[in-house]
């Protein structure tokens, strides 16, 4: 899918390569780059995912990065019902005799 100028997109770029990072990091974090993701409106006429593009953020800043997502959706949600929590009922707390 191609993105067109003005589409709401997410870009990604590496801000610091592993060797450019702070010295004081745990071993696992040291091995990976410091990455950044920003959303905004595509400035290029058209682009494919992975292309180097520029965007205009909602406050008007122009930032460059690789196109990662087009019209990125909100992926967080309410989760699944949790049996360990569903078992907690008023009845169980007051042993069923609260109004008795």
């Amino acid at each position: 899918m191609k993105a067109k100028k003005g589409d709401w997109v997410q870009i990604h770029f590496v801000a610091l390569k592993p060797q450019e990072r702070s010295e004081h990091l745990p071993e696992d974090t040291k091995k990976v780059p410091f990455e950044i993701r920003i959303k905004g409106f595509l400035q290029n006429d058209e682009a494919n995912v992975g292309d180097l593009v520029s965007i205009k953020t909602p406050i008007g800043r122009i930032v460059e990065g690789n196109l990662e997502k087009i019209n990125p959706k909100y992926e967080h949600n309410f989760g699944e019902p949790i049996p360990e929590l569903l078992e907690i009922t008023m009845d169980s707390l007051f042993e069923g005799d609260r109004n008795g």
Binding site: E20, S22, H24, E35, K39, P58, G79, E84, L85, I88
Partner: protein, 471 residues
Amino acid sequence: MDRSYEGIMSRQIEIIKKSIGVDYDKFEIEGIAFDYQKMMKEAGYTISEIQKIQRETAVGNTPLVELKNLNALISRCSDRGKGARIFIKDEQTNPSGSFKDRRASVSVYRAKELGYKGVIAATSGNYGAAVASQAAKRGLKSIIVQECFDSRGVGQPEILEKERSCAAYGSEIVQTTVGPELFYYTLLLLEETGFFNASLYSPYAIAGIETLGWEIAKQTQQITGRFPDVVVSTHAGGGLTTGTARGLQKAGATNTLVVGASVDLRGLHMASDEDFNRKSFTTGHTGFGIPFAVFPDRSDVPRNAARVLRYMDRYVLVTQGEVFYMTELLAKLEGLQRGPAGNTSLAAAFALAREMNEDEIIVVNETEYTGAGKLPSAQLTFAKQNNIEVKRGDPIKEDKPGERIVIPESPLQIGYIEIPMIQLKESYINQLFKRLNKTEFTKKEIEFIAEDIKESIGTVQKLIEKLRDNF
């Protein structure tokens, strides 16, 4: 301009100075010593000035609610004559849904007053939404920088929710992977944009919270005829406890015991890419709570205004499972669906109330909004996806941060882990030894340390002597 890590960090002092509008040099005394009260007085605002600023953007004056059904449960779970009454400060009713609006309101007001075009805040939590909301109200632009993803690109659900919230208020959101270089990138943005640094730790931010302590004192007095015996605040960076305690004192509640409560995440490294998504709480936990208590000046300003050892009388930890359990109780018994950070202090209060007398009063500071990503269902689903075991059992005995979350089987299992204050104070002195690489301090420095950890000069001298031998 050199935008490399070293390049930006070498300009840190000048970038901060330009972006915050406080001349911190004015408050320096000697070595580690600085005049904290003078900084709060000259760079902050009085309570009535803050109230005026906050009224302009509809911040504060939140309800204080007695948790009657929960208190009945506490009564049933306590020995005869025990079981203090719990009241909760319902901070969710602020514009963006948390007490952080108080903190942001003064920073954004100040930014506008000083003529900045926009504000930047580095925060993954409610403070981002608060800054974004207050900036919108004052017609300023905002950039929120949040640590959100691990190296797989998996985002913490609560932080993803915060991004959605900030976006709703019109902010630009910069999302980073795990690491303290969040600070580097924030400095880079401050330099590039010339925006105001709405630091969580400026004198304005802390002054903004004083109205919270003031309201707690006044409302408790109005409802019950007395000041609270205990206020329990969720403790992370130290701002909530510091600001609230200062407000309590200003309102005359000088005998109220101030208790800090954090979620126990000891053993998980906060800068670890692998540990990042193994925790179900993004704030109000020991990963911030302990380091910020024992070395407040690790923050993004030269002198942190949140200095919790000056104000905290006790520090207790609760487990993740207990907080999820309390979140359920608050909803099911009180009809209040609220977010995780506030319910941390509620879990601690429940356990503390059982030990206190029935005629005593404990105020829980505070509540926050909840929703997708923040709900126990969202967090526990995410925990299970990350191979964390979730079970019913004894939370204090079986909890293992990053491996197992234990939901209590009965309210009688809600307890707390006490961290002795002296342990934190000794860590504070050890941090000074380590960071300054010295164990000798001048008279003025000793006086400052005594004030900063709320101990006598004699005690500080004894602690230094004792700890010096092991350094």
